[in-house]
Symmetry: C2
Subunit: 395 residues, 2 copies
């Protein structure tokens, strides 16, 4: 095992020994690296009493390194991959969670809001790129028809404008937001509180399959991990901190969605809330957020959401996308054609040329070039965007 | 005609010569009194060109003093009365309009927001007392069932807690708020943009009759005045400035109700907004208010409204009500009985005693005392609150 592999294994082992987000573990890793931190904890050197007990309890039922190695093998069989801060596709924005401190913490889980040590990912998009221009849409499981309609419209509208829709994969608002994005042929990311091989709830299996096919299933927990209750709260910090903003569509009083919004606010992200009828129990939490947090913005549709996150997105895009993009080398016609291609599926040359505003002869020439650059693929039914390259792993 | 009568007549004449709210007229009256101001204007001494023209145009169709005298006679025949700042029942809170300046004024009517010179009133409650603990509930004419439900609940809940409900008497939200207050046996005030003898709209005639019976119909315009379009905007400043806060229930984009809320905000009153479904055109204006004005408070029911205005009410009540109240001299039993009496209609002694938590013998004794003090009246169907004394007129 080389140093890189050892480091990755240590991150997985650490996430198994203590739940993700554990602040002291993250601090140790920042200071000493994952391998030394793992050695320290396994040698009984935890700086905190509770962590010492937790590590001992876990170690009694299994060997952390062996568990981690097994998880990595299992992931490989599944076609899932581990992403760590050493990888190019690491979503750096989650680093903002370092500063997240929730007020009035009574449960440990609300205090342990450190950035993730690693992610398990299913789907071909590079995780960091997928989250770059992303908005979370979250809300009640027991959503009303009104809420589902609004969430679907938001998911669709955001995806249509090339924003990634992030949500939690739950029934109700989450599922509606994912579906809206999928309908628009857009990119959607489900951040789970369990293994990416057994997304919860089961009833959304078909939806998860569609998401894995064109978007991403993401989790901090290894394949096989169960969706334990506190894990949803731990997961919520990633939805809040990994996106530019969080929209709450419907939420009952003190619901998980309002917890995600609070995490967004205290991480300095944009928290947005869709109001609803005051007669609806499913909007009580949404209205509470608007009353409690002057920073929470009332939004009534995708235009308002883009008004809030668009500025940030525009600022960030050149920074993080800038020099790496191969499209920078393309001329206007090629770029127009590339942008005219549907995000999913193929399109015939005639229609594509018309959409791009390029004559058909030029279109054919430029498409050949793009094909040579492996940016588009020719198919029986026209041209399509090439699937993203397998993410390079950093050293 | 004595000096007092002359002064009252001058206020009526001035309101006829220039629409209520005209800033320069109000300033002249403050400085020189209404009689001297009327003389000045009628002698062609208006400080502003446009006012000079307006006075000349009005004077061409009638003699201001004669018109005013006729209005006063007509009001007396109708059982309506004129209330001026010289009267004890003058609602002093409207004086706050002196400071009202709306930004981005393009129409004259938005700039002329001075306090009223006088009010025409139908109903027996002293106007100032009625408005002391008052909240405005306003909204769309083309209200939805949702909006009407919420407005009725608010009107009922506020009235039940002895708050006066103020609105404009229009179809939709206004009517629902008035009806809610009436159903609770509470006090409701309709501030009109036309004469109190011909409340507009006609379709609400039965409602207006009920309001005049137990509450108040109020207007700055003399009996017979027509509800011209700009008068609604002029009227709205009184609804905003005469109450402690304004609740907007449903409002389409740039509606009259949002104009009232803006006037409340810029007069330093509490502006409250009930959200609704983002899919409803009738809530677009409400949501716009919440997005535009950080000071506008989202409220979802009467508890939130009381949270906003309750503090102010509690602060003000002892100041203005304090020493004058004859109830201060009553013992606990008598006061409990008085408070147990329905605001409207009578109640039998047994029920009343039970409600007040006083035994029937004591109740009978205390009710006799209250009757002697002219605070309750005995009727065939039990005891009832005595109608308020005819307001004293100041000197």
């Amino acid at each position: 095992m080389n140093a890189d592999e050892e480091s990755r294994l240590a991150r997985v082992a650490l996430t198994w020994l203590a739940e993700p987000g554990t602040r002291v573990v993250h601090q140790l890793v920042e200071r000493h690296g994952p391998v030394a931190t793992l050695d320290l904890l396994l040698d009984g050197g935890s700086p905190d009493g509770w962590l010492h007990s937790t590590v001992a309890a876990r170690s009694a039922v299994g060997d952390a390194r062996a568990v981690a190695a097994e998880a990595l093998e299992r992931a490989e069989r599944l076609g899932a991959r581990l992403v760590t801060p050493d990888d190019d596709e690491w979503p750096t924005r989650v680093g903002g969670l370092t500063t997240l401190r929730l007020p009035d913490v009574t449960r440990r889980v609300d205090g342990e809001t450190a950035p993730p040590l690693c992610f398990w990912v299913r789907g071909s998009w590079p995780l960091g790129e997928a989250l770059e221009r992303s908005v979370a849409v979250v809300g009640a499981r027991a959503a009303t028809g009104y809420g589902q309609h609004v969430a679907t419209e938001l998911g669709y509208g955001l995806a249509e404008r090339d924003w990634t829709v992030v949500s939690g994969g739950a029934f109700g608002i989450d599922a509606a937001a994912h579906r809206g994005a999928l309908t628009a042929g857009g990119l959607t990311v489900a951040v789970l509180a369990c293994g990416v091989d057994r997304p919860y709830p089961m009833g959304n299996t078909a939806l998860f399959d569609r998401i894995a096919d064109t978007g991403l299933l993401v989790s901090e927990w290894p394949p096989g991990a169960e969706p334990l209750r506190p894990r949803f709260l731990i997961r919520n910090r990633v939805i809040a901190g990994g996106t530019l903003g969080t929209v709450v569509v419907e939420a009952s009083a003190r619901s998980g969605a309002t917890q995600t919004a609070r995490r967004a606010i205290y991480t300095g992200r944009v928290a947005m809330v869709v109001p609803g009828p005051v007669t609806s129990a499913m909007s009580v939490g949404a209205h509470e957020l608007l009353r409690e947090f002057p920073k929470a913005r009332l939004v009534t549709g995708v235009a308002h959401v883009l008004e809030e996150v668009g500025r940030i997105g525009a600022d960030l895009a050149p920074l993080s996308r800038g020099p790496q993009r191969p499209t920078d080398a393309l001329d206007d016609d090629a770029r127009s054609l590339l942008e005219a291609l549907p995000r999913r599926g193929a399109m015939g040359v005639d229609r594509l040329a018309g959409r791009a505003g390029v004559d058909v002869r030029t279109a054919l020439r430029k498409l050949s070039l793009l094909e040579e650059l492996s940016m588009v693929v020719r198919r029986d039914d026209g041209y399509a965007l090439a699937p993203p390259a397998t993410p390079r792993r950093g050293t």
